[in-house]
Subunit: 351 residues, 2 copies
């Protein structure tokens, strides 16, 4: 009996030890659940309402957003860097006439396309940006080259184009960027402002369709399998913009911010208010110093900091745990995300 | 007896009321002590060591910093706005060849002066900035005009110059900005980099004196009698800069930030690191969300955020209580402050 009890006791201790060891070597599934790889994108915020968009157009936009998500996700899935993923997603949107970036960039006051872009690496806090560049097919690629190749963070205008040429970046003729609805928007805005129209399109205008979608900036934030966060933003800026205005998109901390210890953010909206509130960096600070969730921080910045000043727009974000969030105070925002957990969401309107 | 008591009672009530009223109308001296009007300025940070600067040059620099402080202080003393005070102080430094801003701006790679400036109003969070402007006598005045006159925050290059012309801003010929030691610095840097020297000065070089002072950006932060904080920064950027590089000086949140609820900040140094850390806004966030003093926040940002990335430079600041502080990780920083409490300090070297 004594032996039996001793055996029982030893058996119990051994079982407990084995179980303990198993428990420790088993991958912590909740941690994996918390840190998936993921990508979140936006294609601009503004007066996006179901009644303004035809079912065909809705499908076209949804498909293009999905294509951008898939391009970024593919990079992440094969173990690629989040920097490459956000660039791949943005390239898809820059190459489409549907968004105000790259091919679809709006026209400035002189009837030219004048684009801004920026990218940031949340691991190293490296960043690159270009402002006011013309005829560059993919401005985000030049921002990436600035980050990777030289000590500067931000280049502008003709100097940035010279840099892009030196690095063999793809340029396109004006005709590539021509977009009838963008051109009509410009003419309409000039008429509304009572401005003399001294510019001429190289193509004939055939419709009166005008783009009422205010801010079509595109952006992406991703986290890769190594937990590195990257954020990027690309835009054509504002229709009829003058004086080589620079908006928030190429400004690190306003339009774009990434920091592995907090989150990655890309903004879209009335850029001046995002500059004055340092919207992207402010979101990160609220997470870092106030312990806010990404969702709460985004809401705070948009509704309690930007909106009281008179600004509108939206932000997308992804925190260090791979949690995705967005918020906006406009009628809608083209947006979507895809995570390694299987979630895949694309949305256009307010809910 | 009844009347006597009534009189006593009325007397007591009246005396109490009079005393109360006196108490209220008496200026609260401790509040004045806590919120004095004040201005703090910098004329750049870098390799500023006593052994490199002749007693005559030291006197010249000290006098010019004092002149800038006095110009700003005079505005504050007569009840003027902090925005006007920082502009007045910066104009003095922009009009001197001693600092890398306005008249003393360094040369870019093409042998031209290419300047940046920004200003921010801590009361409204309004801001204005120009990047990469040439031949403008006082770039800070254009930044102010951007803030006051149009809805944009940031203009750049030729567009910003067009805007300045439209508003009647003073322009100067290239010769006005010519500065022998700046020119020698450019030639020396090009030689060091092994670059072909294809640029020519319009004037003969007579000495080999080269400016080793790395970052001569100028800046000012002030608080006026109404407790409003303003901050401003103006610079010629980096010697031999290429590709229309934009540094931190015209970037709101990096080179300049002002918020009545926290502080005002102006930065100088290797701009890229101030952009990546959002140095000015980060200082404000540490005060707002972590309860740091201005002094502690400045130290944290410079030594624990900028320096680990490889950056150097300095910042000046003034908090909502009128407390002045500065910090830098370089050998020296041209700096000074003047407060309504009677303090007047001008310093060049590390202590």
């Amino acid at each position: 009996m004594k032996h039996f009890i001793t055996f029982l006791l030893i058996g119990f201790i051994l079982t407990t030890l084995i179980n303990c060891s198993k428990e420790q070597s088993k991958p912590n599934s909740s941690t994996i659940e918390e840190i998936p790889f993921a990508i979140v994108i936006h294609g601009g915020a503004g007066t996006i309402k179901k009644e303004f968009i035809s079912p065909e157009k809705e499908k076209e936009i949804t498909n293009k957003l999905q294509e951008a998500l898939d391009a970024g996700y593919a990079v992440l899935k094969k173990g690629g860097a989040s920097l490459d993923a956000v660039q791949a997603a943005i390239n898809v949107m820059e190459n489409s006439p549907l968004f105000n970036a790259g091919k679809g960039a709006v026209f400035n006051s002189a009837g030219k396309n004048e684009m801004d872009a920026s990218i940031m690496d949340g691991k190293t806090l490296n960043a690159g940006a270009v402002a006011g560049v013309q005829n560059i097919k993919n401005p985000i690629n030049v921002a990436r080259l600035v980050m990777d190749s030289i000590k500067h963070v931000m280049l502008s205008g003709k100097g940035a184009e010279l840099f892009a040429k030196k690095y063999g970046v793809e340029f396109e003729e004006d005709a590539y960027f021509y977009n009838e609805r963008r051109w009509n928007s410009l003419i309409k805005m000039k008429e509304k402002n009572g401005e003399k129209i001294q510019i001429k399109s190289t193509k004939n205008l055939s419709t009166n369709y005008v783009d009422e979608h205010k801010f079509g900036t595109v952006g992406a934030v991703a986290m890769d399998k190594n937990g590195n966060i990257a954020a990027a933003t690309s835009t054509g800026g504002m229709t009829n913009k003058k004086f080589n205005r620079i908006g928030d998109s190429p400004i690190i901390g306003a339009g774009t911010y990434a920091n592995n210890t907090t989150c990655g953010i890309s903004s879209t909206g009335t850029g001046e208010y995002f500059i004055r509130t340092l919207a992207a960096h402010e979101t990160s600070s609220l997470i870092q110093y106030k312990g806010y969730s990404l969702k709460k921080a985004l809401h705070e910045v948009i509704f309690n900091e930007i909106e009281p000043l008179g600004g509108d727009g939206g932000m997308i974000g992804l925190d260090k745990n791979g949690v995705v969030a967005w918020d906006f105070n406009t009628e809608g925002m083209y947006r979507g995300y895809k995570r390694s957990t299987g979630e895949n969401v694309v949305k256009l309107y307010q809910e």
